[in-house]
Amino acid sequence: MRDVYVIGIGITSFSRLEYPLVEIAAYPAVMAMKDCGLSKVDHLFVANMGASRLNHQTGLASALVDHLSLTPVGAETIENGPASGASAIKAGWMAVASGLHDTVMVVGAERMREANNLETTDFVASLTHPLAEQIYGVTLPSLAGMFTRLYMEKYGVTSRHLAMVAIKNHNNAMLNKFAHLHEPITLEGILDSDDALTNNPMVADPLRFYDMCPVSDGGACVILACAEVAKKVKRPLIRLAGVGQATDTHCVHERKEPTDLLAVRGAAAQSFKMAGIKPSDVQVAELHDAFTILEIAESEEVGFFKKGQGHIALEEGYTSLTGKLPINPSGGLKAKGHPVGATGVGQAHEIVTQLRGEAGERQVKNARVGFTVNFGGFGNNVVALTFIKEK
C-alpha cells in the first residue's frame, strides 16, 4: 500500500447558491486543480446524496467529468448519507494506495436549498428505517432529540453546554469567509433572555433551533496523489495517514446503550491505528456537529475525552480555537454549514488548510496532526480520517 497525500483543495461558500449543481461541483474542482497546478487527474469520485431527488439529476459524476473536460477518465458517485464526502475520500485513498491511480479528484457537492424546508427534512429523513422509523415521522432531529435527552439524564449535560457548542462554532465561523452563518450568538440571546424561546424555539425537545445546523448548498474538493506526484507539487506535504470506517444498527432503538456511538468509536480507532497515533496526538479536529450534542458525544467516542466528560472539556475552553484541542475551527456543520454530500470533503478541506498554516485568523498554531469524523445517518455509518503534515 502506497502513501497518499492531499495535494490540492478547493471549496465554495456554504450558503444558498443559485447556480446548477454541476457548477457547484466544478468550482472547487477548478480551484483545487489550480491549487496544485495539475490539469489532469486519473479518476474522479463525486460525493452527493440529494441530486436525484432534490435536483432531478442522476449520473452526476459523469456530468462533472465532462464539465471539467476530464473525459475519458472514469467517474463514480458515492453515497453514504451525510458521510458521503469522507466515503468518497476513502475510495480515492484506496485507488491511490493500491497503485491503480496516481491522482484522484474527490468532489463533494450538494444543492439542497432548491427544495423547501419541509421537502429537505423529509428527504434527509429517508435515511431512517422505512418500516420501523420513517412511518412514524421520525427525522434526524428527532433521533438527536431522543439521544440528547438520555445524554443529559446520564451524564449531566445541560442546554447550557449545548448552547456553548453553538456559540463556539458560530464564533469560529465568523473567521471563515466560506461559512454559511456569520452571526454572533450569545447565551443571553439564545438561552437566558426573555426572548430566548422566541429566538431559539424548541425543534426536537430538548434540542432547539440553534442546536441544529443550517441547510446549505456547497461544494468542496480534494485532490489525492501518490508520493511521487505529491513531491513534485509545490505545496506542503499533507498525508492522508489514517482511514477508518464502521457501521452500526440502522434503527437507533436497537443499540444496546443508546448513548453510545459505536460506529464513531470503531472508525476513529481504525483511523488512529492506521496512522500510528493516539487520540492525544491530534491537534485540530473537525467533528460532525449536525446537532450540538454530537460534537460533545463524538469528542468522547473518538477518545479525546472520557465518556461523559466532553461537556466539561468544552466548558473549560479546551476545544475553543485557542484551547489545547480546537474542535471545529471552521465553524463546523453548525455554522460553516451542512451541504450533506459535500460536508466530509469540506471537513478535509479545513484540516488541510489548518495543517498547511493557511487558515488566517482561525489558524490553530503549529498544528501537524488533524482529524475528521463524518457521520452518516444517525451514526450508523461513520468515516474517520487522520491527516499528518510531513516535514
Binding site: 439521544f147 425543534v203 432503538h253
Partner: protein, 112 residues
C-alpha cells in the same frame, strides 16, 4: 381483530428481532418466524418534534423509544402529556402516517 407489530424469531437460536433482518446477528441463521410483540413496556427516551414532514397535519409529534416486556425495543408515537423516562406505557396499533392513499399502522403508546 387486534392488530400486532411483528417481531421475527430466529429459528436457529430463538432470538426475536425487530425490525426484521435477513440474517440473525447472533447465530447467522436466515429463517425467522413472525411473532407478535408485547405491548407493554417502559419508556427509554422521547422527544417532542415540531418540524414535521409535509404529510403530518399536526403541529407536533411526541416520539419515543420503548423497551417492551420481552426486551425488544421499538420506536413509536406517544400520546402522553408529560412523558418521563422510565415510566410504564402500553401500546395500541393505530394509523400513524398517511401518504397519499397509503396508511401505515404503528405502535402508539399510552400511559400505564
Amino acid at each position: 381483530m387486534e392488530r400486532h407489530i411483528l417481531g421475527y424469531k430466529c429459528r436457529g437460536c430463538g432470538h426475536v428481532w425487530y425490525p426484521n433482518r435477513a440474517v440473525c446477528q447472533d447465530c447467522r441463521g436466515t429463517e425467522f418466524e413472525p411473532v407478535p410483540l408485547p405491548k407493554t413496556g417502559k419508556l427509554l427516551t422521547f422527544t417532542v418534534l415540531h418540524n414535521l414532514a409535509v404529510d403530518f397535519e399536526v403541529p407536533s409529534l411526541t416520539l419515543g423509544i420503548v423497551e417492551l416486556s420481552n426486551g425488544n425495543r421499538i420506536t413509536g408515537h406517544l400520546k402522553i402529556d408529560q412523558p418521563k423516562i422510565g415510566m410504564k406505557v402500553t401500546g395500541k396499533v393505530e394509523p400513524v402516517r398517511q401518504v397519499g392513499y397509503h396508511t401505515s399502522y404503528g405502535m402508539v403508546f399510552y400511559k400505564g
